[in-house]
Symmetry: C2
Subunit: 174 residues, 2 copies
């Protein structure tokens, strides 16, 4: 089923995708944010095959997004609880959801709305720049090799072209 | 390859996932944001099988995230250009990237940094509430059925429990 591993690509998008494994995984995480913890309830809510669910839960435990806990000892039964890094995935789902609301909702409007208890209003998710707090748009962002980018790749012409490293001006409009 | 269609689920996360099809798709979109437009360049940058790439590009055109344009007529050659809804997917990739930077970067730090030309600073992506502008955390968000949620489902006990519709208080802590 898995074809290519993106784990070692110098890109946090690819690495995140590699951790998730496939598209069932974000839906399993979605269920966690709805409060689901038990195998049968995940299975029932998602209509997912039991072996697929079992694989995805195992993967999420391995990569540290879920913790498997005993909640009953006779017989032993487990539940799956979000860890701190798992909880931190919520904004990614919220950003996915906001895009879907804008581009895939039918004429009735969004299927789900989010009530933000912190401000006691319904809100949407918006992705902003941590520095200036303005919404991030593709046109305003230029990716650059960061401290974790492999130095050996930076001599390659295709990599230098990708990041416009030899351009006189900042990044050109494409 | 595709198993279950999420297209008709009353959830914009599931619908977005259905549009994408599989995890290659966000990486193809990533390449678009790097300025890639031509089949061979997608293929070279991603190391993706040509038939898989062909499928994913076709899907992205069908669902309106990419436009296929003729850029040369003798012989006819095409390029793939982000549409408005395709460009609007950038914040989702930025949110994925930020999570990966926080949880998957090695000790050297993030492989890629984003320069935000709008404020001329390097920035991270952060997901905020459109109403109060505070960062969105899972603990502060309660999902509710929205205007596009199918009314027929709202009588089902499992759906009512999922959204805490019969609870006396607001949503309980899980």
């Amino acid at each position: 089923m898995r074809r290519t591993s993106f784990a070692n690509w110098p890109c946090s998008i690819a690495r995140t995708i590699d951790v998730l494994g496939d598209w069932w995984t974000p839906l399993v995480l979605r269920e966690c944010f709805y409060g689901v913890r038990r195998f049968d309830e995940f299975q029932q809510q998602l209509g997912i095959a039991r072996n697929t669910l079992s694989d995805r839960l195992k993967r999420l435990v391995e990569v540290g997004l879920l913790e498997k806990r005993v909640y009953e000892t006779q017989p032993v039964r487990h539940e799956y609880v979000l860890t701190a890094s798992g909880r931190d995935f919520f904004p990614v789902l919220a950003a996915l959801n906001a895009w879907g609301d804008r581009h895939l909702a039918d004429q009735d409007g969004p299927p789900i709305v989010f009530h933000h208890t912190a401000c006691d209003h319904d809100g949407e998710a918006e992705v902003v720049c941590t520095h200036c707090r303005a919404p991030l748009h593709a046109d305003d962002v230029v990716p650059r090799p960061g401290p974790g980018y492999p130095a050996r790749l930076l001599t390659r012409p295709d990599v230098r072209a990708r990041f416009h490293l030899d351009d006189p001006a900042p990044a050109p409009e494409s």
